[in-house]
Symmetry: C2
Subunit: 371 residues, 2 copies
């Protein structure tokens, strides 16, 4: 969807002539009352569910949507009943206008000049998309992690336009440690000699070293210590017998090293470095209580939506304690909120994985929802 009217951003800058990539699943009902917006986290996109077909009509390998276990016919967010919309955020690198595109005002690729966007800006742009689609009110907005922040922001910015919010593995803001991990990742990218101040496109290079490091750091924080020990432990990669070390500092020695390098290499092939900076900064900045002197309950005063909050016991990136902060503030202002703390071993990644109790909680919440 192309938007010609400028979008005024939180920073004061404006973005004009931008596109938003989106996908929809299911059918909008006659009353236009069954729409559910799904917001994505760091490295996902508008492609929430389903698979793409090739020219022969065969499913393309590895083309499943990032929340395909959650969204689809008969799934917890049932597209036989709900009209689901996935939208790629501004500044991303999967189709919506971002740093890899040309600035219509200068004709140059944005690169590092793409304006800083916030969670609030994304929500604003999503609201415009829904207006174009003729949807005045969402049955629900849903997201995990950074997507959950967008869902929360929807209920704050557009209290009349959203009846329910499902906020999974999220937080009301980042802690100092969260910001610290983001900053290390950004420094790795920015200090890569191939970054060229963010204008690497002009130089025909990509700051892959930095992106690899950023992704490796990210991956550690997505997994729990327990699940890492279970999956990899201290297993060596190539050893024929136990404890047959190679005695090398640079070669891969342990399975976990091999896994992380592989994840880093894959990511550096497809993800845009400027997008990484923008998205981690949007995470850093999100802090709805900030404008209310840190009083989250006060910040939630305008909210009218009902909530489902979900957290996972082993998530140390956005721990259950952060969801409980949200829960407490919501109860303080008499919001209708359900909270499920799921005992799952997978850390932050759990929000993307199949867990029977998690899926069942979300399914029940949507089943009870009027549409």
């Amino acid at each position: 969807m192309h938007f010609e009217e400028p979008l005024r951003l939180s920073s004061g800058a404006s973005l004009r002539g931008y596109d938003l990539c989106y996908e929809t699943y299911g059918r909008l009902n006659a009353g236009r009352s069954n729409a559910v917006l799904v917001c994505h986290a760091l490295n996902a996109s508008h492609h929430v569910a389903g698979v793409y077909l090739d020219e022969q009509g065969q499913p393309m390998p590895r083309s499943e949507g990032w929340w395909d276990n959650m969204v689809g016919p008969g799934k917890p967010l049932d597209t036989d009943r709900f009209f689901v919309i996935g939208v790629n955020n501004l500044g991303s690198c999967f189709g919506s206008t971002g740093p890899m595109h040309r600035n219509p005002e200068t004709g140059e690729i944005y690169g590092a000049d793409f304006p800083v966007v916030t969670v609030e800006d994304w929500v604003h742009s999503q609201a415009r998309l829904l207006e174009r689609l003729g949807i005045e009110q969402l049955a629900a907005v849903m997201g995990g992690s950074l997507g959950g922040m967008q869902a929360l922001s929807w209920t704050l910015q557009y209290p009349e336009r959203v009846r329910h919010a499902v906020v999974v593995a999220s937080a009301p803001n980042l802690t100092a440690e969260n910001i610290a991990f983001n900053e290390v990742a950004r420094r790795a990218i920015v200090t890569d000699p191939d970054f060229h101040g963010g204008h690497f496109y002009r130089h025909g290079v990509l700051p892959k070293r930095g992106l690899r490091i950023a992704r490796m750091i990210g991956h550690i924080t997505y997994l729990s210590d327990d699940v890492m020990n279970e999956k990899f432990g201290r297993q060596l990669r190539d050893a024929v017998q136990a404890a047959a070390y190679k005695y090398s500092t640079q070669e891969v020695e342990f399975q976990i090293e091999s896994y992380l390098r592989h994840q880093g290499d894959k990511f550096a092939e497809y993800f845009d470095a400027n997008t990484y900076l923008l998205i981690t900064r949007a995470l850093d900045y999100f802090d709805p209580a900030g404008a209310c002197g840190g009083d989250l309950a006060l910040a939630l005063e305008p909210v009218k939506a009902q909530f489902l909050l979900v957290s996972f016991t082993t998530d140390w990136r956005f721990s259950p304690a952060r969801s409980r902060e949200l829960l407490k503030a919501m109860l303080d202002v008499r919001l209708d909120v359900s909270y499920a703390e799921i005992d799952a071993p997978h850390g932050h990644d759990a929000f993307l994985l199949d867990d029977a109790r998690y899926m069942s909680v979300v399914r029940t919440y949507f089943e009870r929802m009027k549409s």
Copy 2:
């Protein structure tokens, strides 16, 4: 102290013509029975206690030993009673033979060719130093973190030569997550274009970008989430008013970013990149239970020393659970072990800080010790 006889390493390689830097505090008694060896962790040295004086006899600024709060006259490890030895490990960059020195066999600077050294190798080299000093048996060996691993290794390799071991904030081996953080740090260094395969000395450059990232990652894991929130929280660096964001991805915005960059910059000025690789690998490799099929109690069978184990509640790098693993295995084989789990907010760093309960536990342990 210069050693001419070759040191056979765990890897099968040999190191010859090496030096060990050491300092001593207090006096060896007539029975040579009051010696305590203090082993250092990642970025420390033989300079455990006291300050250096300039030519005018004035204390030099910032020259305090790294455990000066623990070791000295009247301190928990009391140098009025004990003869304390600090030794810089092989492969380090603070005086003992390491990658910055010349290989006597080739005349070239070792760089990446410095052989991989293990905790066991360090202990072996320390044992040789003690032989030269005429110390047949240690009253105690003591260390925190990686230093604690050396203390544990002493009791395994030289059961007759150590009466007590004080193992603080340590672990019987690294978890997959510990190894993962080490690996990201190593990749940041090795992929820095200024690393030149570890032979950067020849090129007149230093891989500072990589070292900065490595140190930033390390720092996050040394601190607890709580203490980071207390010290830095979401405070902005330069904002005149709250929430006055700069909307920049590359400038310092939060206090925690400024702190981490500063720590990274400082470290990159003085620490050797090859040393960082070597020391993190020694951490990865340490696993005394490995040779016993993972049975830590079985590995501890030869041990005769008495132990004090100390852990800190908010240490998530070497959590109390890891010390309790050690404790359980020691109890299983009927070792004499005391364990203190200190409720401290500072994370892994707590082992270097003043905490009244921690200091008191260590003081009492040494007070009761025969010398």
